[in-house]
């Protein structure tokens, strides 16, 4: 099991969490008319073999959205923060 150190609940198995994908993409503003920006937001991913910033939600716990930094080659988690502060 991957273990994620939830800042609210402590270390928990990853199957308590829901994956939310790449946290490095940013959503265009709602009225952005540029289709290219929306294409990049919806589809294009850096998909690194290495450090990856990603969303996880602790659904069977505090239900907080987290940003986890994890190495996609060996699953070593290097940092976990609340998404609401991390995005600021």
């Amino acid at each position: 099991m991957l273990r994620i150190e939830c800042p609210c609940c402590g270390p928990r198995d990853h199957d308590e969490f829901r994956y939310g994908g790449d946290a490095s993409v940013s959503r265009p503003t709602h009225d952005d008319p540029d289709p290219e920006a929306w294409y990049a937001y919806v589809y294009v991913r850096k998909n690194p073999a290495g450090l990856h910033r990603e969303f996880w939600q602790h659904v069977i716990g505090c239900r907080q959205w987290l940003v986890v930094e994890r190495d996609t080659r060996n699953h070593v988690v290097s940092s976990v923060t609340f998404a609401r502060t991390s995005r600021a």
Partner: protein, 418 residues
């Protein structure tokens, strides 16, 4: 190279089977080639073979960072079928099926293609209606498809759970009799040997570390065995397409995810077909050695690790037992993982790229094995002519930008949910 035949086995028996030739040469790179195919998996080797066979382009190298058959071509569950619903997919996978039917003869290599039939169980009247729609599409495209009711499914596969307590009662199934399995290593070896027979250099343990450019155009690759020039470069490295794409300056709609597969200890013959569970993600066939080979869902988070997590082992086991309670006491022999390119619509990408001289074949999600021959055929055409083969017209990279996605799974744009 002497063709394989029963006579050859007999002749070599006279000398103790000691005088067989290598199936392909251990080639070292030349300074340059007409075409370099990066990736010595099934798709890359098939591409090289059809470049030579169909287009007469024989000055070709296949660069493989590991060994032939060590990637996803040796890690899949070997299922071959052409039961796709959407235009573009339906015709492409049926073309692939036809190539499978002639493959052993075309390659002079027994790929042990076994058309044992594949069925997908339906667990509600609505799901069976959906399968009826799919079967009609298949038949209109000249593909064999049958809809079975509950009794017919029971006669065919009586070992599934037909009890009153089944979690998801079986209403029926969609069946494709020409579907089946093949020996995956033999496919890699067969294409490698046949490509080598046409003069293609297969270079193992040669990792591509970068691209050589002349202005905007790609004119070769940097590798762990030095610089190699090429008029055209084809990328066939599904699982790692983003990594090599990034080296070329391409940002792609792909995420890499790990998919696990499993095999049990050997049993007496039980599963005569390929059986897929319509209520969850689980499919099973029985290998010639007797092991049940099965798979399920992705682990569900970006991964290049080629090994999976135990949570999925449990989920797959739960689905297996729900469908086939009779295997609840069988032990797993092995399980393993492979890194998949997952696209946002679960369909592949084969096309010329915006970069001159670079061609892309990837995004196979977990459906790449069955596509091997058609993928190689169409990618070779695309590289040779510079234009997409008509059968892959729907697989362009621009379909995400233009809204023409081929969303066979209907799962929305999150790659890990396909």
């Amino acid at each position: 190279m002497a063709p394989y035949s029963a006579f050859q086995i007999f002749r070599n028996a006279l000398s103790g089977q000691k005088n067989w030739q290598r199936a392909w040469r251990a080639a070292e790179p030349k300074p340059s080639y007409d075409v370099i195919v990066i990736g010595g998996g099934g798709h890359g080797l098939a591409t090289a073979f059809y470049l030579a066979e169909n287009h007469g382009i024989r000055n070709v190298a296949v660069l493989e960072k590991g060994y032939i058959g060590g990637g996803n071509v040796g890690r899949n569950t070997t299922v071959i079928r052409s039961n796709y619903l959407l235009d573009g997919n339906t015709q492409f996978y049926e073309f692939s099926m036809k190539l499978w039917e002639g493959m052993s003869r075309a390659l002079n290599f027994n790929v042990m293609f076994s058309q044992r039939g594949q069925l997908v169980t339906a667990h509600s009247a609505d799901q069976l209606d959906g399968f009826g729609h799919r079967a009609n599409v298949m038949r209109l495209n000249g593909i064999d498809a049958d809809i079975l009711d509950r009794d017919e499914v029971r006669r065919l596969v009586p070992y599934l759970d037909f009890s009153d307590t089944a979690r998801f009662p079986i209403h029926g199934a969609i069946f494709q009799g020409r579907a089946g399995t093949a020996r995956h290593d033999a496919v890699a070896w067969g294409y490698a040997r046949a490509a080598d027979g046409h003069g293609v250099d297969i270079i193992q343990n040669c990792e591509v570390t970068g691209f050589i450019r002349d202005g905007e155009r790609i004119v070769g690759v940097e590798t762990t065995k030095g610089r190699i020039g090429a008029a055209k470069v084809g990328l066939a490295v599904a699982g790692h397409t983003s990594v090599l794409g990034a080296k070329a300056g391409l940002e792609l709609p792909i995420e890499s995810h790990v998919l696990q597969a499993f095999v049990t200890g050997p049993l007496k013959p039980l599963v005569d077909h390929v059986v897929a569970y319509g209520a969850d993600h689980f499919y099973v066939s029985q290998s010639d050695k007797g092991g049940l080979v099965f798979g399920g869902n992705l682990d569900g988070y970006n991964s290049y690790a080629q090994r999976g997590n135990l949570g999925v082992v449990r989920e797959v086991a739960e689905a297996a037992i729900a469908l086939m309670p009779c295997i609840s006491r069988i032990r797993l022999l092995r399980h393993w993982g492979g890194a998949m390119d997952m696209t946002p619509d679960a369909s592949p990408i084969i096309c010329p790229t915006p970069i001159d001289g670079l061609y892309l074949n990837g995004g196979w999600c977990y459906g790449g094995f069955k596509a091997t021959p058609a993928s190689g055929w169409c990618f070779a055409h695309t590289i040779a002519t510079g234009k997409p083969h008509p059968l892959i017209a729907a697989y362009g990279l621009d379909r995400f930008r233009t809204g023409r996605t081929l969303d066979e799974a209907g799962a929305g744009p999150s790659a890990w949910l396909q």
